[in-house]
Subunit: 225 residues, 2 copies
């Protein structure tokens, strides 16, 4: 059995390329693992709150000393983190907005980066006091962008603030960015040309193959354990 | 006379390092240019809305054909863009949140990236169809971060998704990122040590010098014109 958290960001709903791509990935995973359990977290339907002063004060108060009010303030953050804790695979389906995460996705990241929950902080560790708490999760990021050429070595590499940023933040999600972060992107959306159609087709094929690979690894892991 | 738009993001209000640094910069600019005009845009007090489906539909409808409802949806975005249009200097005072912009700042960026307002789009331009509309503005970014070493060539260079992202988006603000974007940052906030105190002191000195330089350039420009 695989627990999968499906985080969707696009406001476009049915017409969204990143949502459709996520559906391809998840439905193929489901074909291979019929006992896939899915929790849906739609950041467009119910957007996260921005982190404010009371949130910060509550998060930095020891959990045993939090007031009723402070526990209420962190309720949604607790819920988001519980979903991550439960999941073995986290899917993030998102458009690139202005070269980075849509604000709603960043608001979710700001809500789940929590001391003593997703990271620990200890000055005895010297200049690198932060360590992640969660581990062994896979992150599959499925994106769409209007322009193109955002991959390493391509023409807009230095303008990609979506994947590198998610990579840096992936430790909060319990993801080893070197081996457990996968990205498939649709490009050329603004150009509406053949390159766009080809990009959609390629991305869906890659998503199918990735589902197969991940499912295969998962079954092998089950046999070993 | 200089028109200055002061965009502040930190939820910490009076205790905020980035707000205090912004105050140093602005008050010194005011010492040199006594007829400074300032508009304050506090994204923590009144956070921007997330871009949703109706917003996108309204923004992509020709302004002459927008319904009353659509004009209402874009009202806040119009206001933000008017403030940018009016300004000659834009100050953004912000903490680094999880290695990038706080979600509220990203929400503001998403609100001001508007077709026919801050950028034009034309497929006749080939693979680079986007061009900025506004120009000749200076952007001063004043930041604080918990960790350190985010500058080019430093140990956390690849984890800096704040300044590079703002740089990429600065064309929407009418800023030539090669010559009119300035950044001064306070670091080491989490460490609360001597390095942090030194970083605060240095940043405030730099902010004073930058105010002097900008004011000097501005006066020379006035003489020339």
């Amino acid at each position: 059995m695989i627990n999968l958290l499906n985080v969707q960001v696009s406001p476009r709903r049915d017409k969204s390329l990143s949502r459709n791509l996520s559906e391809t990935f998840i439905s193929h995973l489901n074909d291979f693992d019929s006992d896939l359990e899915i929790v849906h977290r739609d950041l467009s339907k119910v957007p996260p709150q921005f982190v404010d002063l009371n949130w910060i004060a509550s998060a930095f108060t020891d959990s045993s000393e939090r007031s009723h009010e402070q526990r209420k303030i962190l309720h949604k953050s607790d819920k988001y983190i519980d979903e991550i804790r439960w999941a073995e695979i986290i899917v993030i389906g998102t458009p690139m907005f202005n070269y980075g995460m849509p604000a709603a996705l960043k608001a979710w990241i700001d809500q789940i980066a929590r001391i003593s929950e997703t990271f620990s902080f200890d000055l005895n560790r010297g200049d690198f006091p932060i360590e992640p708490i969660l581990k062994n999760k896979k992150l599959v990021v499925l994106t769409s962008s209007g322009e193109f050429g955002f991959d390493e070595g391509e023409i807009r590499e230095t303008q990609n603030h979506l994947i590198p940023h998610l990579r840096t933040c992936s430790h909060y999600l319990g993801v080893d960015k070197k081996k457990d972060l996968y990205h498939i992107g649709i490009e050329f959306q603004e150009f509406k040309d053949d390159r766009h159609q080809k990009s959609i087709k390629n991305a869906h094929q890659k998503a199918q193959r990735l589902a197969e690979e991940i499912s295969f690894c998962d079954k092998n892991l089950e046999k070993v354990s």
